[in-house]
């Protein structure tokens, strides 16, 4: 039996660290589960690749070129690929934190069992976050390697793509975790998927520059987190990095913090009665 240090004796920082460290148990648990179901994880790697082939190259052969916000002209595939990478990071994180956490929270009651051990809400939330991040990171790295070999990374800034994708994944993982606690039945999934994730996928500048729309609609699109995720990663891969990317960064950090706060509060509400 491990002796647990008294929080009072070791200080708040040490306690926080202890919880973060103990959260890795949830990652272990998920690895244990996916050991038999690795195909689920692996198949996600191919989604952005198919999109890149279908839209980026298939449709891209007809479209050929796109003008970036800074006036530079790039191949359509180079325009779409970073957006697909950002979307893959989002999907990896969101599927894990929305669907799987919902299932564990409401049907399997897995967390009730976990909470009977020295693991707390913080560990569960952080653990699921870490796991979602790992899954998202896998997709981001796979896509990064493909972009690299396909010559779709046009600038040395591209080296920062993977860390940026991790921030994107963290932001969406926290959002998913916050959102899932508001869902009551499986039918409620239509709402986040149909009204949030899909429209965002379509309207965040993934497949075309949003400048073709009237200004009010553009402003609305710029309010979505995926727009900033794509803008950040596209900026890095094409090398058109400016103050816009700093804003993207700031947006994502704040978005992450707010969602994480809501997620923790909601998890506590759901699990502690």
């Amino acid at each position: 039996m491990t002796t647990l240090t008294q929080p009072a004796a070791s200080g708040a920082l040490a306690t926080a660290w202890q919880r973060i460290w103990r959260a890795r148990r949830l990652v272990e648990r998920n690895i244990m589960f996916y050991r038999h179901q690795w195909i689920i994880i692996l198949s996600g790697v191919f989604e952005p690749i198919f999109y890149l082939l279908g839209i980026g190259l298939g449709l891209g052969a007809i479209i050929q070129e796109v003008t970036l916000t800074d006036g530079r002209v790039v191949a359509y595939a180079a325009f779409v690929a970073p957006a697909l990478l950002a979307t893959a990071a989002m999907n990896g994180a969101v599927f894990e934190t929305i669907f799987n956490v919902f299932f564990k929270l409401n049907f399997a009651k897995i967390y009730d069992g976990v909470l009977a051990t020295p693991m707390g809400i913080t560990e569960i939330a952080l653990g699921e976050m870490m796991w979602a991040l790992m899954r998202a990171a896998l997709y981001a790295v796979a896509m990064f390697v493909i972009m690299l070999f396909a010559g779709l990374i046009l600038s040395p800034w591209g080296l920062l793509i993977v860390p940026a994708a991790l921030l994107v994944a963290a932001a969406f993982a926290a959002a998913g975790l916050a959102g899932t606690s508001y869902l009551r039945t499986v039918n409620d999934f239509d709402v986040p998927m149909g009204l949030v994730v899909m429209p965002m996928f379509l309207f965040s500048g993934t497949f075309f520059p949003i400048s073709i729309y009237p200004l009010p609609i553009q402003v609305f699109m710029q309010a979505t987190p995926l727009y900033h995720a794509i803008s950040l990663i596209r900026g890095l891969s094409t090398g058109s990095v400016g103050t816009a990317q700093l804003w993207d960064l700031a947006y994502l950090v704040v978005f992450f913090a707010v969602c994480m706060w809501i997620a923790m509060r909601q998890m506590e509400r759901k699990l502690i009665k």
Binding site: H36, I40, S43, F50, L53, G54, G58, D190, L202, F207
Partner: protein
């Protein structure tokens, strides 16, 4: 009770569940094509030069894309309805076990589920067509034919996927089907770009896949450019797929329920 009447009961059971959610289902059925056409149709359309439109046979990109998306919607809806819900009725909720202890038999279950799929896709295709009309896409009253074709695409996929689901012991295989079958079909069946863009060998492969035939027929009907020679071939392919799928579905489900 005849097989047909019993199928009706299976259909009715789905209706009882659905009627609590129908408004939401129809709302999303309307919203989805609106969003897709506004985004992909108008957004990507704006990137295309008049010269490049020749690849789409001279029609606007949104006109070309809309019918393709309708066919893809039929496939995706059928796929979703024939995986998790069917698995639930086989394994998790054991509804089929309960039904089979009544005069309802395997053939009626498969028939009822396919009829249900046809109903769902029929309503969604109708809504989709209304949306296409709002975007001014259909060229002639022939466009109405897109609805039965979409239903045929739907039941053909439903039948094959019920046959697949009946063999599965857990839902892991579904991820593989979605990612490795449905998604590539969505992207490479002439939905987003003409197959003439593909290398010749891949065009042959694309010809062999089912969604392509649905896309061709639906696009032909809506844009009033059905090819009288090719259309019967497309139709024959889909009918054959439906027939084989239904036969396999009944066989596999009977085996599964006998376990």
């Amino acid at each position: 009770m005849t097989v047909l009447a019993a199928s009706g009961r299976v259909w009715q059971r789905n209706w009882l569940v659905y009627k609590r959610l129908w408004h939401r289902s129809l709302a999303f059925g309307f919203l989805q094509p609106v969003l897709f056409l506004t985004a992909m149709g108008i957004g990507i359309g704006a990137l295309l030069t008049p010269a490049s439109l020749e690849a789409f046979g001279g029609v606007e990109f949104i006109d070309w894309l809309g019918p393709g998306l309708l066919a893809a919607m039929a496939m995706q809806t059928a796929t979703f309805e024939s995986t998790y819900p069917i698995m639930n009725k086989i394994m998790w909720g054991r509804n089929y076990e309960a039904m089979l202890s009544t005069p309802v038999g395997i053939r009626s279950i498969v028939g009822g589920e396919l009829a249900w799929g046809a109903f769902r896709i029929g309503t969604l295709a109708t809504i989709f067509l209304v949306v296409l009309a709002l975007f001014g896409i259909p060229r002639s009253p022939m466009a109405i034919l897109a609805i039965p074709v979409a239903v045929l695409v739907g039941v053909a996929f439903s039948a094959c996927l019920i046959a697949f689901t009946a063999t599965q012991k857990n839902d892991v295989g579904f991820s593989a089907i979605f990612r490795f079958v449905i998604n590539p079909l969505f992207l490479f069946s002439g939905t987003f770009f003409p197959l003439t863009q593909l290398p010749d060998e891949l065009q042959v492969v694309a010809w062999a896949t089912p969604l392509f035939h649905g896309v061709e027929l639906i696009r032909g009907a809506i844009l009033d450019q059905l090819d009288p020679l090719a259309a019967p071939l497309h139709l024959g392919y889909l009918l054959l797929m439906f027939g084989i799928g239904a036969w396999l579905a009944e066989r596999n489900l009977a085996r599964r329920m006998a376990d």
